[in-house]
Amino acid sequence: MAGVTLSNIRKTYGTLAAVDDVSIEILDGELLALLGPSGCGKTTTLRMIAGFVAPTAGTVRFGGRDVTRVPVHKRNVGMVFQGYALFPHLTVAKNVEFGLKVRGWDKAKIAARVTEMLHWVQMEALAERSPRALSGGQQQRVALARAMAHEPEVLLLDEPFSALDAKLRGQMRTEIRELQRQAGITSVFVTHDQEEAMAIADRIGVMNHGRLEQLGSAEDLYKRPVSRFVAGFIGKCNFIEGHVTGPGRFETANGQALQFSGEHSIGPAALCFRPEHGVLTPLATPGNSLPVTVKAVTYLGPVTEYDLVSEAGNRLLVSASSSGEGAPKEGDKLSVAWSIGDAFVVD
């Protein structure tokens, strides 16, 4: 087992940089999610770790070994593909066996390992089935067993849950996370679903336009996003345009003074707070509230979402526990307030 180090890797297609100077140190045994919208470079990054794509610049290391120029089949990775890519002409057991014979394992060792892997993913009973006869969740388990059978140094998962329906997705997520912990294998998985990334990853790398925007735990990303993109991509966020006038001081576009926590250089920026940190109140407080009009009320069960418009035309969102009496209604003129500790500023 080993960690994976990406140093300044870059991949350009013509003039387009699909991945632009990305450096990540993936720790031994860690599950790292690469998260971002489609076209952000997360899949290309994964494929460079796998060896399907050669970086234009930079190096990929497994432990201390530089594998940048090593072809896929000599890298000792395990990969779970989007849609699983199980071999339809082979049985479940033969699929799991596929990576073993080529490594020169003897028959007894292969048979023992296949049994062990099928037991690990609870698929022994279906060993002689064709993958075509399996459900999505079963196929995924086989794909994982196949990827892990040859004891790879690194496990790579490309959108592993995208082909499953919503209910099964949650279940398989927990299952894969547990199996990954048991095996203690360094893993990288690619997803565009922030909830999925937050649910199972130790750390998340958020990518946009080929660059790594931020790398950190789910909590880091949610509480201390370093950019507007991360703030907007991880959870919902309100942005109030304006500029920073001094330490902790912010002025909105129409001249209202607000305060925030944290550091930011003087200049144009946006003040942000999360919808759940906003409170609708009839009382305006200076420095941490804005007068708003309620535009729409969406009842979602435990919480109710309020779409608001400020005097300056900013659209804001506040979510609050649903309460029967005295809840704000459409057209109400109120103030939205937040605690200064929950307000932060991004470029």
């Binding site: 399907f52 890519a85 199980l86 002409h89």
Partner: protein, 283 residues
């Protein structure tokens, strides 16, 4: 199932079915009937029913020879065609640029746009004793004297391979297009080199295409006419020309029909046998 809809769908095959029945099955039935008749120099056919022609054809060493030569040439051509077509089809189906892919497919089909006669004439120019191939080989010092290529079985195989290649490549390529590249990537991620992955993953999954392409090639080669006549020359006897000689030259319709029926049955039996052999090995 709702019957009305089924009938609506079935109605679509009626025109094609009619055409096949009228212009293919009926003449076939006639040929089958003639093959049991007996030739008469005056009346052409006696209108009797006897297996005499079959006995004569099967017992005659000349026709035994023609049939075995035909089967041998067809099988050899098919094997060569498949060996050449597989890598080309694989390359075309995996090429990334759609433009290049389009051009490659057109290039593959190009030989089919020439007529049989034109293509054979071109081969005669290339393969003649004073032809292009000899001139080139003499020029680079590969041979001392012109060698005989035209009017040899080798020449027939070369020419047949060139005709059959487009059919085999297009058939294989369409099957390979349906094999997701992620399966090959999976093979490589499991430690198989790209070449080994082709043998372990692509070949078994492309087997239906391999069987279809081989069957088409073999059937076309067995029944070839223009190529053996023009490239093989007068001494090279294959079944297609033999049928023609009997019917058109000797006016012996019954015996020509018998040879045609034998050719049909042998082609069918060999194709079915080899198809089943390949299928059993891979599915």
């Amino acid at each position: 199932m709702r019957e009305g809809r089924n009938w609506g769908g079935s109605a679509l095959v009626v025109p094609a079915l009619f055409l096949v029945a009228a212009f293919l099955l009926a003449p076939l039935a006639l040929i089958l009937r003639y093959s049991f008749d007996k030739y008469d120099p005056v009346k052409l056919m006696l209108g009797i029913f006897s297996p005499g022609n079959y006995v004569q054809a099967v017992a005659d060493p000349f026709y035994q020879n023609v049939l075995s030569t035909t089967a041998y040439i067809a099988a050899l051509s098919t094997v060569i065609v498949m060996l050449l077509a597989f890598p080309v089809a694989y390359y075309i189906s995996r090429v990334e640029s759609q433009r290049l892919r389009g051009w490659l497919i057109i290039l593959t089909m190009l030989p089919l746009l020439l007529g049989n006669a034109v293509r054979s004439a071109a081969w005669m120019i290339v393969m003649g004793t004073k032809g292009v191939a000899n001139a080139v080989m003499l020029g680079v010092g590969l041979i001392e004297e012109p060698i005989k290529i035209l009017y040899t079985p080798t020449a027939v195989v070369i020419a047949l391979v060139s005709v059959l290649l487009p059919f085999a490549i297009i058939t294989l390529q369409s099957v390979m297009d349906a094999i997701p590249t992620s399966l090959e990537e999976a093979g490589q991620s499991l430690g198989h080199s790209p070449l080994r992955t082709v043998f372990e993953v692509v070949l078994p999954l492309a087997m239906p295409g391999v069987v279809a392409a081989a069957a088409i090639s073999f059937a076309l080669a067995m029944n070839a006419y223009a190529t053996p006549v023009l490239i093989g020359g007068p001494t090279m006897k294959m079944m297609g020309p033999a049928v023609y000689d009997q019917i058109a030259k000797a006016n012996n319709w019954p015996f020509g029909s018998t040879l045609a029926c034998i050719l049909m049955v042998v082609t069918l039996v060999l194709t079915v046998l080899s198809t089943r052999f390949l299928s059993r090995k891979y599915f």
